[in-house]
Symmetry: C2
Subunit: 142 residues, 2 copies
């Protein structure tokens, strides 16, 4: 686990992570002035594959969490991932401070189309797109 | 963790899992007479998202492990995932015995194109395709 001294300013551990979020975390979040957010993960040994770099499953899980959160905050209701496309651009390594951001590309009443990007020090690690099927009924204002 | 009595005949824990494989495991394998294999995971609380079903990240990690193993066994050298497309068909739940299989669709000297499918009791949970860039030089026999 990272020492608190290694956590960049503005990042706080996310509250109430899921069971799987706890398993791969701690995950940190920084909310910027415009309301957008950056999530971050300090890479540990537990995240690695047999090649000694971050397992692709960690990267896909992390970007799914980011895009799913963006979908939730945009639509104000939960969404289930129905398709995620992940492009692995470069490896991430133990000790790396892995950051991720995303955005809504388009939203209908039933599906949010999002995209995300993970980076280490500005260097792209993974890009992804994710489609989230919204659960329940839209709010009356929709 | 599953009781040994709950593990179907023929399945054995995989040897020497990666650090991340240990984190999400134990993962089991059954090798069939034709040399193909089925991997399996007993779903636990640690695999769940805030909705109480298996986190999409677990499903993507699991199918990546399966397709990556198929790529490795086919090409006899490691491959790095460069693109994975995951379609989430149905949720998996705590206690489910999640099985997965895959196959090589096409292999060149540098890339293996694979596909995979996860199921619970024959019900499809996720389908995926994965492209693996082979590392190092091909064997002289290639």
């Amino acid at each position: 686990m990272a020492n608190s001294s290694e956590i960049p300013d503005g990042f706080m551990p996310i509250e109430k992570p899921s069971s799987f979020g706890q398993l791969i975390g701690p995950v940190y979040e920084r909310v910027d002035e415009d309301g957008s957010f950056t999530r971050a993960l300090q890479v540990e040994d537990k995240h690695t594959n047999l090649g000694g770099v971050v397992h692709g499953g960690v990267l896909m899980a992390f970007v799914d969490v980011i895009m799913g959160t963006i979908s939730y905050r945009h639509a104000c209701r939960p969404g289930a991932s129905i398709r995620i496309v992940s492009d692995f651009v470069a490896p991430a390594r133990i000790g790396d401070w892995l950051e991720g951001r995303g955005e809504v590309v388009k939203a209908t009443k039933s599906v949010v189309f999002a995209r995300g990007r993970l980076n280490v020090g500005g260097r792209t690690i993974l890009t992804a797109s994710g489609n989230y099927k919204l659960q329940g009924r839209p709010h009356s204002g929709d």
